[in-house]
Symmetry: C2
Subunit: 318 residues, 2 copies
């Protein structure tokens, strides 16, 4: 049994992860201020999970933390996290000291990709092929408030020589384009995130006062990443045009990544991926002409299976 800890800006979620790998027991607490307090809370979570499962902490195979920010997994440091306000924090060692077990740490988006690969979409695909991961490589892209993600090569996280690689959302696809939360302009995130989709939706609603998107917004109480997709499903032309434009931007960044990495699988997670097969069906024809792949070995597009559990499972596998 392993322990995976998903350290977020709001909550710390920890789980006992079995061989499957899947979560057998889970618990969470509010994230306290400061790394020392966070390490203590993680230790308490680890102890309480073991107590509840009736196993001893020293029988845990491995403990991993997925943390936001720039992580040096080799030295176990949170080099910098804007979200947590950490700078050069040796978080792995701090937790290790508390629980007397070695602790690994990695970026949370990378951990989620690892979890999805070994316990979610990757595992499902592998089952169909009567084999188990690591069968090959996968990119997970999460389409949420931002665009995060992780790159899996030969069953392991690919994060470069300094542990900071795999920054898929902040690839510029439009020089001098839309401003991004990161301070740059034209990042993929500014277009392919739910935030980017909402921006497109608002603009289209202004231009099309007759669009179904207005009544959907009135009904739901707000404009969201779902508004245009809901309208498109009901045949609304303006909603459909928003979906088409969004999927075009999604296709450009996806193609850039596939042409660079040629992963066996390309997996979409995050809020927008809840649009499911419609998203994939709309994306596919826009993606095909952008790909350099020739022959039969083509990247499979798929949807993430695990949701938030991916982060805990992946952290346990670090």
């Amino acid at each position: 049994m392993r322990i995976g800890i998903d350290l977020g800006g709001t909550n710390i979620a920890a789980g006992l992860v079995d061989e499957k790998p899947g979560i057998v027991l889970q618990n969470s607490v509010k994230t306290p201020q400061g790394a020392k307090a966070a390490a203590q809370e993680m230790a308490v979570l680890a102890h309480s999970l073991c107590a509840e499962a009736g196993i001893r902490l020293q029988d845990i195979e491995s403990v991993g933390i997925g943390s936001p920010g720039a992580i040096d997994s080799r030295s176990g440091m949170v080099v910098y996290s804007n979200n947590l306000e950490y700078s050069n924090v040796p978080l792995a060692a701090m937790l290790s000291e508390q629980i007397g077990l070695p602790v690994r740490i990695g970026n949370d988006a990378n951990a989620a990709a690892l979890g999805e690969y070994h316990g979610g979409a990757g595992r499902r695909a592998a089952a169909g092929n009567d084999t188990t991961p690591p069968f090959s490589s996968m990119i997970l892209v999460t389409l949420g408030t931002g665009v995060g993600g992780g790159i899996i090569v030969n069953g392991r996280i690919y994060d470069g020589f300094n542990g900071m690689g795999g920054e898929v959302g902040h690839m510029v696809i439009e020089v001098d384009g839309a401003s991004c939360t990161c301070g740059r302009n034209g990042c993929w995130e500014a277009y392919a995130s739910a935030t980017g989709l909402i921006r497109l939706t608002k603009k289209a609603m202004e231009c099309h006062p007759d669009s179904l998107m207005h009544s959907i917004t009135a009904e739901k109480g707000k404009i969201s990443g779902r508004t245009a997709f809901l309208a498109a499903r009901k045949g609304d032309p303006a909603g459909d045009a928003v979906v088409e434009t969004y999927c075009k931007y999604l296709a450009i960044g996806t193609a850039n990544l596939i042409n660079l990495f040629q992963p066996a699988m390309f997996c979409f997670g995050g809020g927008v991926s809840n649009e499911g097969q419609l998203l994939i069906d709309r994306l596919r024809p826009l993606l095909a002409p952008e790909l350099y792949t020739v022959g039969d070995k083509r990247t499979s597009l798929c949807l993430a299976q695990l949701g938030n559990a991916a982060g805990i499972i992946g952290a346990a596998l670090l």
Copy 2:
């Protein structure tokens, strides 16, 4: 001793490559029409190199071919090459049959990256650190008629699950941007190649009839990728502005690749890289704000050392 073969659209260049790795003997012939004739020519080259060096073909450690196009290195196939007009050609097996030795095949740009890593810029950097490659990872980007390149991870070519990865030049950096030779729009190649630089230069010359670029063009007989750099070195404002704009586009794509791969080294080759330290010096301040790297472990920028020899050396190391 190894044999490396650089199969081009115009010439086939082959070399005997030693342990250093460096080329000890080299020869080339015109590329004949058709794969069968090409395999025969390669066999003749291999025999003649061995004869000239006074060694037996069967004492050759390995034989590798760098070929343009989409290569499946696992099956030894040229899946498709527009340049050579090959489609599903088992070229490795065809040469192997001729010479009675196993033959490896890879994409020519990837082979050049491998050669530069083990025998050129990578080797030089490693020497400074008192270690030998594979010390880590490197991206080579060649700024020529197009933008090619290759990605080295842990001392090996990274080319994805189907051997077609590492397509660095055809990453879109401008949605609906300048048309690219590949049929897409806005590829990095359309901006960062010598061709893109020449386009920028021509445009600036039209707007600035007083620019030094006109007299430089008259003197050299044509507009080239050097024109704006030569003018900028002489203090010409319009030439300087072209160099700045070119380096901005170069920085965007370079940043995208560094943020994704975080390689230990990022190496520039091809015609434009002959601008040397000026290119690096102009690029650096434009690149810095685009990088997500925090802390001290930062990608080193460097210039390719081997020129065309990289392809032969890399092919020998496949």
